[in-house]
Each structure stands twice: as C-alpha cells, then as structure tokens.
C-alpha cells in the first residue's frame, strides 16, 4: 500500500520548505521528499537574505504566514537597512545569515509541523492518472501517492558543474543531480530550457588579512523581517570590502579562454545581474577595479564568501587571481568557484497559481521556473503551497495583484513573459512601487494570511491592534491646531514656521522639516504609536498625493485585471486578432485581460477584440 498524501513537495530548498509548511499548516496531509535531508533550506550561494525588492518579498512572505522572515531574524550575523535616504518604498532590510543556523532553524520548523511527513529520496518519475498528477516514483521503486505535487527542483535538473573547461554531472557544490526527473518532465511534454548561474570561491578566514580591507559593520535595528516576533539581539559580525586590481584583471584576461563561459563549454543563459568576474571584465573593459565583499558564512566555521567574484576559472588559476587582491594575498581556497548549468521549465506553461495548465495537480515553484534567488523561490513556494491546497478543496485561488504585492508582480511576470535569463526581483519591475512598501506588507496581506489559517490567533490580534492604532493616529491628524503661545514655542523649538492661523496636524506634518514624533507635544494621543507606526503615518501624509495617484492608476487598471478570459477560449475564433497575437495568446494563455495586456507585442486593439468577443459568449 503506497503512502498517500494530499500534497507532496519534491525538494526541500527555500521554495520547498515554504510550500510544505504552508500546505501542512492549512491542514493538508503533506509530504516533503528531498535528495538529502541535510540540505533543507540550504544556501549554496551566499547566506544573504533581503535587499531591495528581495527584502520586500521576505516581508510579504512573512505577512502571509510564511517562514523565511522568522528564520532570517533568528539566525542573522549582520543586519543593514539599505536605501534609507531614498524614500520609504525602496527602503529594504538585508541580512547576512548564519547558513548552518538557518538550516537548523528551518529543519526544526519542518520537523515540528504536525501534518508534515519528511523523507529522503530521489524522485525519478512523475505518475499520472486520467490526465492528472497522481504521485511520484522514487529510486528503488517506492511510490508516493499524492493528489497534488509541487516540484521545487532548484538547479538540480540535469545539472552540470563547470570547473574551468572541465565539467561533470553534478548539482550545487557537487551534490547529485536529478537526471531522470528531467526526463520524466520531458516525456510529459514540458519544454525544458538551459540556464546558467555560478558562485565564487569560499576561502578560509585565517588566511585573510582583514587589516587591508574596509570593515562593513551591521546596524542595531528595532525590527527585523518578521511582523510577528520581536527581533532577537544577536552579536553582529563585520563584512569586509576590498577591490580587484589591474593585476587581477590582467591575470583573468590571460586565462579567459580557460573559463567555461568564454572557452565555449557553456550554452545556458546566465543572469545579467549576477555576472561572473570574467563577464564583468569583458562587459566593462574600462573599469579599473571591481568591489569584493568578503562575508562570513556561519559563526561555527571559518569559511568566508567572496561576493563579486563568481567565476568559472580553473581552480588553480582562481587562487592565483585572488592573491592579487588586497586582504587576499595569502588566501587559501576551501571550495573553488564554479559555474552550473541546469534545466528549467518555461513558466508561461503555468497558471498564475503556478499549476501546470496541461497537467492539473502539478505545481512548480522556485528556480525550476527560471528565477534566481532564495527569496523569489520562497515566495513561489508559499503561493504554490497555498494554491495547491485551495485547489484540492475546490476553493478560489489566491492570486495577488501587481498593485498588492511584489509576489503578485513576480508570478504575473513569470507566467506571462518569456524570459531568457534567470529572473530576479527588482523594484524597477513594480509599476506601483509606491504602494508596495516593505513595512506595509502586513497591511496588504495579513488578512489573506489569516483567512488561509497561516496567521495564528495571537499574531492576528496584534495585527488588528496595530491597524487600530494606525487608524486612530490617522483620525487624530485632522485635529486643528490654533495659534497660541505654546504652539509658537513648539514651532520655534522644531525649527518650523509659526502657524498664524488654524492648521490641521496633517497640514503641519506635510512640512518637509517635520515628522510625526515632532507632533507628540501637540497631541498626546500619538504617544501610543510604535516608532515604525509613526514612520508609517508620516509617509502616508507626506506621500498622500503620490499614493492617491498611484491608487487611482491601479484602480483604473483593475477593470482589465478583473475581466477573466475562459481557459478554453479558442483565440483563432476571435475576429480581428492578428496572427502574431493569436500565436502568443495561445502559448501564454492569459487568465485575465490585464495579463493579456502585458504580453509583449499585443496592442490595445487586440485586447478590445478579445473583449468584444467575450461579450458574445
């Protein structure tokens, strides 16, 4: 009798963990199977979480009841707030985490989850019945039955590691690749494409000369990624900054033909935002130096990561190259850098729930969908887990809008636009950026998280109280302040013009030189607000015009977003559509008119043609 699950998650990385935890917490009988139990929530690249857009994703995951934010808060080695002077919507938290502590935290979370079964094994085939996913077969013949399966195979599908011009079949850091699973996908009709990424060398800390580098200290912060847990105080470790030298560049150039990338060994497409050092030299020949961040990997090891030096040079050359860099003159490599090629699916074959259109019940999340980054993977894992359970229950899916969450932008673009390179989240991709502040993620998403059962009673109470405080604070802002001696003294003390007539607190707060804490003396009711909430209200007031404009724009577009296109619509039957439009629409199969509008090459006239046609039915 095979083991039976409602939901089976294949893979235990950042997508897999969120998917499995969400499924189990929503009450589905969930299983998680991975190649090596020791690799749960592993970070094969640098142990950094967050930053612009990525940090926003983490806060959104947390607001929906996901795990990544809490894990990062519990295990950070260093925290920094980025973009603090550039505006509230682009401010972002970035953490260097302890990669082993992070894995232990997540493994404990997974193991403690009541409805979650955990096992080690290699999935070699996907099993189907009556056009639906039915389960998987493991190496050794065991079968796991499941009504829904989420594949989070990361970079393991037919993975090949390149060390210089040599290459061999292997996953990240030499792990076993997944060969047969890729073949099983192909035989089920999934088109696979080849992508590439890479990682720098890891070096031994005692071989580094820190005195030759610039320290990059962390910051003491009040709040981490999680809305639900206070940020624990942890000792912070410095990162270090150094730069490549002309000798470094000369040496790399001399060995360029020995790299996998320029020696012709690699066919996969690499990401533009994560180029190897050899690509940087070729692309920016005029730059005389590139920065290198030397980052600790974990408190318990002496292994350090060299951010900025991803490479596929032959390992002996790597040591030589690193030793031209200040601080690294005597460096010892413990793991060489390498490039890795792997298979990913074309995510336009997926619905916005991340479920396959062709094989119902089969979901995909993470790097297998052609994204890069732990945060992007976790966000998809969470949404795939949520939607798999909702679909098993026969309930409406949770599809986040582009004006609601970065997660909405991410998944919309994944399933709509064909991307040649691994997809990374950036704030530049969000047209409603001002509405998507990291600090407002709970206000945007916690209600959904609560309805799904992913936000607990205690957390929800705290959320409601926070909302209440914000609403009260907002109401207080309309109070009028009339001129008086006390107000005059206050104005002088805060370096702002003395009000000559009655002004609302809101009008005062609009003055660039003032922020909400400055108004505490005028209105004691603000005193109950946390610093974060005071900041929240300050932004709301100062940006009111911009926010309203952005909201109006989002509202205007919603008409299109809400207009659904039936999944079985035959686009060839729609009059007035160009052949190109028919071809693209048939491949991407947009579910709404809004999504159709984002397919490149479709014109407003095409949209109108669909709209008119839909009215006939």
């Amino acid at each position: 009798m095979p083991r039976e699950f409602d939901l089976l998650v294949v893979g235990g990385g950042h997508a897999g963990c969120e998917a499995a935890l969400a499924g189990a917490r929503m009450g589905a009988a969930t299983g998680m199977i991975l190649l090596d139990l020791g690799d749960i929530a592993w970070m094969p690249c640098n142990p950094s979480i967050g930053g612009p857009a990525k940090g926003h994703l983490v806060k959104e995951i947390d607001a929906l009841g996901g795990a990544m934010g809490r894990a990062a808060d519990a295990t950070y080695l260093q925290l920094r707030r980025l973009n603090t002077s550039k505006g509230p919507a682009v401010q972002a938290l970035r953490a260097q985490t302890d990669k082993y502590a992070y894995q232990r935290w997540m493994r404990a979370a997974v193991e403690q989850e009541k409805h979650l079964w955990l096992g080690q094994g290699e999935v070699v085939a996907l099993l189907t019945a009556s056009g639906r996913i039915r389960g998987v077969r493991l190496r050794g013949g065991e079968v796991l039955g499941a009504r829904a399966v989420i594949l989070t195979a990361g970079t393991f599908l037919r993975a090949v590691v390149h060390l210089g011009l040599e290459h061999h079949a292997a996953g990240p850091q030499g792990r076993s690749p997944a060969q047969e699973l890729a073949e099983s996908l192909s035989s089920l009709g999934f088109a696979l494409r080849r992508l590439k990424t890479g990682t720098p060398a890891r070096v031994r800390g005692r071989s580094l000369r820190f005195a030759e580098m610039t320290p990059q200290p962390g910051e003491e912060l009040e709040q981490g990624f999680s809305f639900w847990e206070p940020l624990p105080r942890r000792p912070q470790t410095n990162c270090w900054l150094t730069y490549t030298q002309p000798e470094t560049h000369a040496l790399i150039r001399a060995h360029l033909q020995e790299t996998a990338l320029f020696g012709g060994a690699i066919t996969g497409v690499g990401p533009r935002y994560c180029p190897s050092i050899e690509s940087k030299l070729v692309q920016f020949p005029g730059r005389d130096r590139h920065q290198v961040f030397v980052e600790p990997e974990a408190a318990e090891t002496d292994e350090w990561y060299l951010a900025g030096l991803s490479t596929s040079l032959p390992p002996p050359v790597q040591t030589e190259v690193l030793r031209t860099i200040p601080g690294l003159r005597e460096v010892e490599i413990v793991r060489p850098g390498y490039a890795i090629e792997y298979d990913a699916i074309d995510a336009t074959a997926l619905r916005p729930t991340l479920e396959s259109r062709e094989l119902p019940g089969l979901f995909f999340a993470g790097q297998i969908n052609g994204t890069s980054g732990y945060e992007e993977a976790a966000a998809q894992g969470l949404m795939a887990g949520i939607n798999a359970v909702l679909s098993l229950r026969g309930e409406e899916p949770l599809i986040l809008r582009r004006d609601q969450a970065y997660i909405g932008v991410l998944i919309d673009e994944l399933v709509t636009k064909e991307s040649a390179e691994p997809y990374r989240m950036m704030t530049a991709r969000a047209e409603h950026r001002l509405l998507l502040r990291a600090d407002s993620a709970d206000l945007r998403l916690a209600e959904s998280g609560r309805q799904l059962g992913l936000i607990g009673e205690r957390e929800y109470e705290a959320f409601l109280a926070r909302k209440e405080r914000l609403a009260k604070g907002w109401a207080l802002l309309s109070r009028t302040i009339n001129p008086s001696a006390a107000v005059e003294a206050w104005a002088k003390a805060h370096g702002t013009a003395v009000p000559t007539h009655g002004l609302s607190l809101k009008e005062l707060l609009r003055r660039p030189e003032l922020s909400l804490p400055d108004l505490f003396e005028l209105e004691s009711g603000f005193a109950g607000l946390s610093p974060a909430e005071a900041e929240e209200l300050t932004h709301e007031v100062k940006y009111e015009g911009y926010i309203q404009r952005a909201q109006a724009e989002a509202e205007r577009l919603r008409e299109l977003e809400d207009r659904r296109i039936p999944p079985d619509l035959d686009f060839t039957a729609v009059p007035n559509l160009s052949r190109e439009a028919v071809e693209k629409l048939t491949r991407v199969r947009p579910e709404t008119l809004g999504q159709a509008g984002r397919i490149s090459g479709l014109s407003p006239a095409d949209l109108l043609a669909i709209l008119v046609f839909l009215r006939r039915g």
């Binding site: 720098p200 935002y273 180029p275 530049a428 009059p575 109108l608 709209l611 009215r615």
Partner: protein, 436 residues
C-alpha cells in the same frame, strides 16, 4: 461635437459652459437641450454652444455623458476641446469610448464590431503616421530625448535596486541634463504650436479703430457680403466670425468692434469682447485707414494688438489719396500691405503675407507635434520632467524622482509608440556593473 464621458463629465462641462439663466448642467434634468456659451480657461468666450447631458447608465458609455455642439468649424471645435481639457478632462484614447461602452455593457456586439473595424483602421493609420514622423529629422530629436530620459531613469533605478553596487547619481548633473531636455521639449512644443496652426487652424482677429473698414476687409477676404457695412462708425457691435481657407490653412476671421472711445454702454461691451478676441487670436490683422493720418485711436488699438506678438498691418483704402504717414511705433516690426477692400487691390498679397506669418514659425520640414494629442503628450512629458528637475533641488527622495521620470517616459512613449519597461532593465544592466 465634443463628448465628455465619466463620473466627472457634468462637472467638467459646467466649468466650461455658461448656460443661459445661470443654470448648471448638473442641476438640469437629463436629455434636455441647453443653450449657452463656452468659455476658455483664460475666461475668453469661445463660441455659442448647445449642450445635452445623459445620465448614467442611460448613455452611450453607460457613464455620465455630455455632448457639446458648437456651430463653428474645426477652429472653434479645437478651442472647445482645449477648454474641456483645461477643465480637467483627458483626451480619449482611440476606441476608448467604445471600450467603455462595451465594458459597461452598453454596446451590442454587432455595433462594437463595426466600431472596432474603424478603430483598427484608425490606429493602424496612426501607427504608420507615427513611424513616418519618427523617421524624419524631428523624430530623431524626439527619440534622442526619450533615450536621454531613459538613461537618467536607468541611473536612478540602478541606484535604488543595487545600492551596494551603484553610487547615488549626482543631483546637480541630473538637473543640468533634465534642463537640457526641457529646452528641447520647449522648442518642439513651440514648433508644435505652429504645426498645430497648420493642421488645426488659426484664429485671426481683425482689429482697428472704428471706420477704418474692418468689415469691408473681412467681406473682401470672404469674397461675399457678410458683415453689416455702413459708413456710420461703430456699426459692428459684435465680433462676427467667418471661416475661410488661406493657402490651405483653415482660418477663422473674427471681425471685432472698433476699439475707440466707447460712445455708449453697448459699444463698451463690444470693445471688451474685442480685447478678448485679440488676446485669443493666433494673429492680429491690424487695419489702418490709408487716407487719413494716424489717430490716437489707431495708436491705442495698435498697442492692444502688439501685445499679441504676431500680426500683419493692412493699410486699407489705398485706392483713395494717401494721407497716412508711417505706422504706430508699437507694431513697427509687422509687415504692412497696402490694400483696398473696395477694389480688391492688394488682397492677394495680404493673404500671402498672413500665410507666411502663420507658417513662418514652422521652420523647415514637417513639425513633429502637429495634433492636440501629441502636444498634450509632450506637455505631460515636460511637466513630469519639470517636477523631476525641481525635485532634484528640493530635495525629493529618489523613489519620487523615479516616479517623475517614469511618468515622463510614459508620456513620451505615446509619441514614439514604444513601451519602456524592459528597456530600462536593459539600460541598467548594460551600464552598471552589478552583482555578486
């Protein structure tokens, strides 16, 4: 006819209309006809109009809808459109009315399909026109402006998304770059104004003190008797307007009451209107009597007209013995043509001079921005860029500055037909070295 649709349609219409009896369209029952005047944003009167209001959902678009009909030709309609836009309306995209009608469930399929065919033809033609325009010299300038804005946006966005790899752009340098583009946009818009005169028509005010023969000249230009002409000074109490084609340019000639010393109350009213007409005109045709020396009245009218900037002087009654010596100092730079409204002498030369003056600012080649829609898009781009430049010094945070540049690019995209989303990313990655 101008059509305004949407929840604010009645309010917008009421901002433009002065209905008889001080009524407001918003307060009147739907589907009733109202007579009144349309007023431009500067307070000047545009024309007499008839307005109908249809209340949601009983309208073409199922939204509140107002139709304003004017009896003038294209020139008046364009001005009316301008006034409606100034009052807060936005130009409909091609097919937007139909789209709204379909979305709101008003149109039957057959109707919608018919409309759709029209839109497709129209947008395809518009796209072809845009492509032709962009291929020209002016198009290259526009594309250069777009590239420059894109490059600035990429710099700002790269700093926002990769704060550890890309340093903050220099505010002062960006401001200089923005101002250079603003100068270019200003020049395009200035040329665009002349371009608009060519495609959308010009308004010419015929001005002069009483009894210099303004009405006769208007009639001579029209080729038929229209305005009442007598020898009694001040016979023309009201502006009389006629539309003709001068060298292919649709021209609306407005005969104004003589600007002199107001004899009675009625005449004073007429003169106030005359000043308005002069202020609204694209060109002033100043009429002097060739058989009499300059009077104080001539000087006063000339001073009024000179403020308009663009003008032509017609020295009328040149068939009579010459009595005029020189023209008023204030309009000395304007070309003067000797004509006789009575005999027709000099009329051809006068027409040519007017055309030359109207088109004279167009310069070589086809103007880039010749339609109101294009001008509006360029103005939006300019406004956004001005915000950006001002925000750089205020100083606004980078995320707001990025919003301004995004708005600017979106507006330019309406001129160039390009979507900029992926281009920004390409620009970021090609110019900035980013990544681990």
């Amino acid at each position: 006819m101008i059509r305004i649709s949407g929840p604010a349609a009645l309010d917008v219409a009421d901002r433009v209309l002065r209905l008889a009896g001080g009524k407001r369209l918003a307060g009147e029952p739907p589907r009733t006809v109202h007579y009144g005047k349309a007023i431009a944003a500067d307070g000047g009167e545009i024309d007499e109009v008839i307005a109908f209001a249809f209340h949601a959902p009983r309208s073409y678009t199922r939204e509140d809808l107002v139709e304003i009909q004017a009896h003038g030709g294209t020139v008046v309609l364009r001005r009316l459109l301008r006034a409606v836009l100034d009052a807060g309306a936005a130009l409909a995209e091609p097919g937007e009315f139909t789209e709204r009608a379909v979305i709101n469930g008003r149109l039957t399929l057959a109707q919608a399909e018919a409309v759709l065919d029209l839109i497709r033809a129209k947008t395809d033609a518009a796209a072809a026109a845009a492509a032709r325009r962009l291929a020209g010299a002016g198009g290259q300038e526009l594309l250069a402006v777009e590239r420059e804005v894109l490059s600035m946006l990429a710099e700002v966005e790269a700093g926002l998304d990769f704060p550890e790899d890309v340093s903050e752009p220099g505010r002062e340098i960006l401001r200089h770059r923005a101002e250079a583009i603003l100068t270019e946009l200003d020049a395009m818009l200035a040329a665009g104004k002349s371009g608009r005169l060519l495609t959308e028509g010009a308004q010419i005010a015929i001005a002069g003190r009483p009894n210099v023969g303004k009405s006769s000249l208007l009639n001579a230009l029209l080729g038929e008797e229209r305005a009442i002409v007598t020898d009694v000074p001040g016979t023309t109490r009201d502006a009389v307007a006629e539309e003709i084609s001068l060298g292919g340019i649709p021209v609306r000639l407005v005969d104004t009451a003589g600007l002199g010393t107001a004899g009675d109350e009625l005449e004073a009213l007429g003169m106030a209107r005359t000043r308005g007409e002069i202020a609204r005109a694209d060109l002033v045709l100043l009429v002097l009597a060739g058989d009499e020396p300059l009077t104080e009245g001539d000087e006063a009218v000339a001073a009024e007209a000179a403020a308009r900037g663009l003008g032509v002087i017609a020295v009328n009654k040149s068939d009579l013995p010459a009595g005029l010596h020189g023209v008023p100092e204030t309009v000395r730079a304007w070309p003067a043509v000797r004509v006789s409204a009575r005999t027709g002498f000099g009329l051809v030369e006068l027409k040519e001079t007017i055309v030359r003056m109207l088109g004279g600012r167009v310069g070589e080649g086809t103007p880039l921005l010749s339609h109101l829609r294009q001008i509006e898009a360029a103005q939006l781009a300019r406004e956004a860029l001005r915000e950006f430049a001002a925000g750089l010094t205020r100083p606004q945070p980078w995320e707001i500055l990025a919003e301004d540049l995004r708005a600017c690019l979106a507006a330019l995209g309406r001129l160039t037909g390009r979507v900029v989303g992926p281009e920004v990313l390409r620009e970021i990655f090609s110019r900035f070295c980013i990544g681990k």
